[in-house]
């Protein structure tokens, strides 16, 4: 029996379609079909200036947009050969880790939701909303942040924001703890997730897994530790590892990563130095508003940057950061103009999604859903 799940199906986040061949309730074969959310990211980027690509990156992994912003802008900075200010590095890490927490909360909530534990989903969403409120105070928008800039970030911490964050983090962790209570040791949940969607470490590496799904199999690879960028080398955090690479491990690993990200956020708040948040070089960063309003030099630099974009020297870079779901790579090619020649994104979701048929083969159709959720496919980054 062939059953068609999606593209419009309650459990198919991000509109993906699974053509599932069943034997009774056992899955013989599953073919994921993507493309329903395709937006032509690469092609659209070629017609935008380097800065105008930024809103597109918001929409890659739309649950942790700041991590995409950071990854992309780091690529442009690498092409330009410049480095952002120290404070902006801390800000990027801070906001990025908050985004990671929101992403993991969403994933955990979705696992709960699809397993019928709707309450878990709502608790996770409640915690996520608290953090997104902070993000919106910081960046001006909850999800479509477009927050980073070449050479820094768009806005500094608003007054009183740090205290607000410190106020809301305990509540976030409390709700995370309640999710923990409701799911982690619950036998129904464990029966549904343990030994389901198992992938060995070797196979995971072969499939190109990264991020929590890879670490759930026991492979110790986290870009933040393996190739530290920004100020991650100054942060004290641990990389949790799973053992068996099943849905349960993927779930519990995300739960643990939330706690680790929480630690990083607190450390960032402690260590963050004062200083500028944007480099002072008018070839790359827009001049301060005062100069734009009042001096011809400022307004000319401003006009050139807006109309023609940042002049990026010809070259080709691949920049990889640890996105919420794994290694988020940006391959940027510049031909020396104000617009990218080509941009490709290595979304962590695609290799993981492509392993889905392997993961769910032989399981019941009811297991498809938790497996699908635990790999946390985000339509935006899989189908650029």
């Amino acid at each position: 029996m062939t059953v068609n799940l999606g593209p419009s199906h309650p459990a198919m986040h991000g509109t993906v379609r699974l053509i599932v061949t069943l034997d009774g309730e056992t899955i013989v074969e599953a073919v994921p079909e993507i493309g329903f959310l395709h937006r032509g990211f690469s092609k659209s980027s070629e017609h935008s200036t380097w800065h105008q690509v930024l809103p597109y990156t918001d929409r890659l992994n739309y649950v942790s947009p700041i991590l995409n912003n950071v990854g992309y802008i780091m690529g442009v900075e690498k092409l330009l050969g410049i480095k952002d200010t120290e404070r902006s590095q801390y800000l990027r890490v801070l906001a990025g880790e908050i985004s990671r927490i929101t992403d993991h909360l969403t994933c955990i909530g979705a696992i709960g939701l699809e397993l019928g534990a709707f309450t878990v989903f709502l608790y996770a969403m409640e915690a996520r909303e608290l953090l997104w409120d902070r993000i919106s105070e910081l960046t001006g928008a909850r999800v479509t942040t477009s927050w980073t800039r070449v050479g820094g970030v768009a806005s500094d911490l608003p007054p009183g924001w740090e205290q607000k964050l410190r106020d809301c983090l305990p509540r976030v962790m409390e709700l995370t703890g309640e999710v923990d209570t409701l799911l982690t040791r619950n036998r129904i949940f464990i029966d549904r997730t343990r030994g389901i969607g198992v992938l060995s470490a070797e196979e995971a590496v072969d499939w190109g897994f990264t991020g929590p799904c890879l670490r759930a199999t026991g492979v110790n690879y986290d870009v933040r530790k393996a190739h530290p960028y920004l100020v991650y080398d100054r942060m004290d955090f641990e990389v949790p590892l799973g053992a068996s690479g099943d849905t349960y491990d993927r779930y519990i690993l995300r739960l643990e990563e939330i706690r680790q990200s929480h630690r990083i956020v607190l450390q960032c708040l402690e260590q963050m130095p004062p200083g500028p948040i944007l480099i002072d070089d008018w070839r790359y960063a827009l001049p301060p508003k005062k100069e734009v309003f009042g001096s011809i030099e400022g307004v000319m630099a401003h006009f050139k940057l807006i109309t023609e974009g940042i002049q990026v020297p010809p070259g080709e870079v691949y920049v990889y950061t640890e996105g919420a779901n794994g290694e988020l790579g940006f391959h940027l090619v510049s031909n020396g103009k104000g617009k990218p020649y080509a941009i490709q994104v290595r979304g962590p979701g695609l290799p993981i999604l492509s392993a889905l048929p392997r993961l769910i083969k032989g399981h019941a159709i009811a297991d498809l859903i938790p497996i699908f959720d635990s790999i946390n496919m985000i339509g935006g980054e899989v189908e650029q």
């Binding site: 070089d281 008018w282 070839r283 001049p287 100069e291 309003f293 009042g294 001096s295 011809i296 030099e297 400022g298 307004v299 000319m300 630099a301 401003h302 006009f303 050139k304 109309t307 023609e308 002049q311």
Partner: protein, 502 residues
Amino acid sequence: MTKVFVDGREVEADPRDNLIEAARRIGVAIPYFCYHPRLSIAGQCRMCLVETSDAPGRLVPGCQVRVKEGMKVVTSSPAVRDNQRGCMEFHLINHPVDCAICDQSGECKLQDYYMEFDHQPSRIRTSKLNKPKREIFGPLVVYDAERCIMCTRCVRFMDEIAQEPQLAVVDRGSHSLISTFPGQPLDSKYSGNTVDICPVGALLNRDFRFQSRVWFVEKSPAVCTGCANGCNVYLESRGNLIYRLLPRRNEEVNQVWMCDEGRLTHHETNEKRVEQGDLARAIELLRPIAGKPGIGISLSAQCTNEEAAAAFDFGARIGAEKYFFTARLDGDGDDFLIRQDKNPNRRGVELAARAAGVTLHDSVEGIKALVAFRTDGLLLEKPLEVFIAIAQNQGIEGQVTLPCQSVYEQDGSVINYYGRLQRTWPGVPAERGESAPAWSWAERILAGLGIAGAPRSAAAAFDLLGLPGLKLEAIPEEGVVLEQLLPAQWPKRAPRPAGAAR
């Protein structure tokens, strides 16, 4: 050839070259404001100062200094860079914060050079000098003294190229500005060129002013339809509108200039267009009389070669009795770029007629039905039984009027007054209504009447012209001179093919 070294690289330069041109040969761009290759050297802006081996320890203006055998030129030493920065700073002292309202921004040399050579905040703390803004110099040109950097390119152009000295520098020092003479506006027929050569936003085109930003419009090559000279131009268009025409370099037709009249020819394409046509009704009207005597074809000298060829083809297939030639009336001409014949393709229509072996009549008479391929200059003394017009602009209404594409919108070719066959390209991205080239309408009418074989593309129509060895796609960008059409008499200063007699 003279051998010089620019930034350590060897350059084979013409002995008449100055340093800027020599450096340009290997792609090294020395910045300049006042220099123009076709104008005399002024040395006003000091932007082009470079170091040479001839004058160690001091900087020399690249525009004034000619190359010398073995000369070593350094264009990016710290001293040169420092001078460039200083020059920029100097030019910007009194420059108003006007990018937002200045039409030049986007193609402004100040902006380009600032980003390339300066990109530093301003150190000036005094207020800027106020000068007249928005001086209307003439019908096409408006002047803003604050933005002017006194490169005097415009003054030199009017003196040397237009040869109508209408501009001058008045006042002194930082108060100096460009001015017209009292009671004498800048009304030269070439005044638009001063806008083109102005490196900043001081002289602006009143026709284009505030219509669009320069980075929104798309450039595409075309041939001006204003007169028989066939100046090479760039169209700048967006959507289905053409915003302005700029001269395109062609040494043998218009050098780098064009006249004011030609600059305004795009208005015909933008305004008062016929947009819809009832093809079915046209076919209905023609069906009973097709093949019977009494059908006339008229075509205007505004037609492209393809349209003209298709018109004769159409006439032959439908059994036309008579062919009529219409044209716009002659206007003023001069001995430089402006011709009296205000039609872009009189020679082409004549050529097509010769190829088709028909005779062209001037006044429309002796027929019952008329199909007009473009209606410019068409005069009907009495109403006809059937009158189908393929027209670009509103004005003459036939029983059926089919919308014709402008020359700027279609693929095709025209022949200028001295027989230069020049290609023109579709330059407007968006379609205007149902408009189509006249040859396309001819083909569709014939198809509706059940007559096959008419040319279905511009290239096919071009082939009817019977020009051996030439294909439409193969016409080079600068055009081909058809030797048999070369005139005996040349206007005095008009650019002409290299071998032509002066």
